[in-house]
Subunit: 288 residues, 2 copies
């Protein structure tokens, strides 16, 4: 049976680091603060916001929760973001998606100042991931995957990694991060002709295609590490990932569970980014 790579100890380690950084910043008079902007009243953004609020104290981050009504105009939303950009008490800004139908998410998320873009939502943060430079921040989910690999001391350099999925928020940035750490990276997707052949020789497999239980026994091999980024609710109400866990457990060497794997680490990474943002902003103010 495969080893299970739980997210909880990874998240705990990140939170412990965050808490210490928060205390150090506190001694400098800084209270690291994340502005959580929610427009409209969707259940999924409410549940994500609640999760963040619950976890924030463990990382030493203050949450400033801002709710705007469903009928907020693009101008009002932009003005709010500008205000938060120029507010020195706010170190990170998270605009919860999806937005109500009338608002252009792409235009709006790019209003966030790069130095406060702790979820890597702006084009400049994306450029940073792509170019391997610290412009803004890397998106939290792919960073959570890297944190899991590091925590469990899974070698990346010189290894063959296959990323199944090419979304701009997970697959592509993750491919860049793996490449930056010297993996040989293959990106597969819905148009890949022979997925099994592409995955066969990989040492690390990332399932990020966004389809429930799509990665199964026919594709996986026995010496592989499988990281499952998907999360879906099945008809019977239980949660599952992009991999078929029962089959995967019999096939691979180690895997992350769903729930309790990547998802458990993402929030901790996002909050850690707020600490990093607060530190950078303090340094920047000091150096003028």
């Amino acid at each position: 049976m495969a080893e299970i790579l739980y997210g909880a100890p990874v998240a705990d380690a990140i939170r412990e680091r965050s808490k210490k950084e928060s205390e150090a910043l506190g001694r400098e008079g800084v209270r690291p603060c994340l502005a959580l902007v929610r427009i409209g009243d969707r259940a999924d953004t409410a549940s994500y916001a609640a999760g963040l609020k619950k976890n924030a104290p463990k990382s030493g981050v203050l949450i400033r929760s801002i709710g705007l009504p469903e009928d907020t105009s693009a101008e009002e939303a932009a003005r709010l973001l500008e205000d938060l950009n120029s507010d020195p008490a706010v170190h990170g800004i998270l605009l919860l998606l999806p937005l109500p139908a009338g608002l252009d998410a792409d235009a709006l998320r790019n209003r966030i100042a790069p130095e406060k873009d702790v979820d890597g939502a702006t084009d400049l943060s994306q450029a940073g991931v792509f170019e391997g430079k610290d412009l803004g921040f890397a998106p939290a989910t792919p960073r959570a995957v890297m944190e899991i690999l590091h925590y469990y001391r899974i070698p990346v350099a010189g290894k063959r990694a296959v990323v199944i999925g090419r979304s701009p928020v997970v697959g592509r940035p993750l491919a860049m991060m793996l490449l930056r750490e010297n993996a040989t990276v293959t990106v597969c997707h819905s148009r890949t002709a022979d997925l099994a052949a592409a995955v066969r020789d990989a040492e690390i497999v990332i399932a990020a295609l966004g389809k429930p239980e799509a990665v199964g026994a026919g594709i996986l091999g026995k010496d592989q590490i499988l990281v499952d980024v998907g999360i879906h609710r099945k008809e019977d109400g239980t949660l599952c990932g992009d991999a078929d866990r029962a089959q995967a457990e019999l096939s691979v060497r180690a895997l992350t569970p769903v729930p309790g794997g990547v998802g458990a680490v993402t929030t901790a990474v996002l909050l850690q980014n707020v600490l990093e943002a607060a530190s950078r902003q303090l340094k920047y103010r000091r150096e003028g």
Copy 2:
């Protein structure tokens, strides 16, 4: 023997398209113009500038050549770029690299307005390549590779493509472009453990590692298309690519020569971007 995929007919086809677009813009009173900024007096930038000036009329592009002395300050260089950004008669800006030692190329190239960044030099252009959006422009060399594949009707969708090299100006953007056209893409590099194994099953191989004649018979397979992005001068004065051409010709199905392959197309692509920039700017002015 392998078929040779020459760059010249590809470049001719692009230039013909450009010329027509230039004439159409001319009827609207627009003369597409590229500002060519050269700081200092290096032989390589001089030769590149001369090549562009020679080719520009064939694409219907006017070149405004600007030479600044070796001891130009960062402020002076930035001011020039700002002036060109706001000059409505200039549609594209190319800052020739490398710059003199005292100047920060990374900071300076990002001063170019995204809508005039015809060589994809800014972070925002890079973000566009990465996210698959039209922010700024894609860099000319990887686009030249795609133009060659299209011209010779080499299928990309669903094919396995291996990019050898992960530079921010060629390897990584090319991987993104191939992915956008639905190839299954693997990026290899100096830390790849078994290059031959990674390349073996690929249908398209891009040699972009920047090492003379490094890709040879042991790596290539008989049904492959090889695109060689490298260009190097050998001790005997002749030019060579990243692939060993003699070996490659015996191994693969088709290949681009060096010289006369990708390099012959790059300038045409860059000049085509000037036309595209001029069109976008005209449209933008009209729509207010």
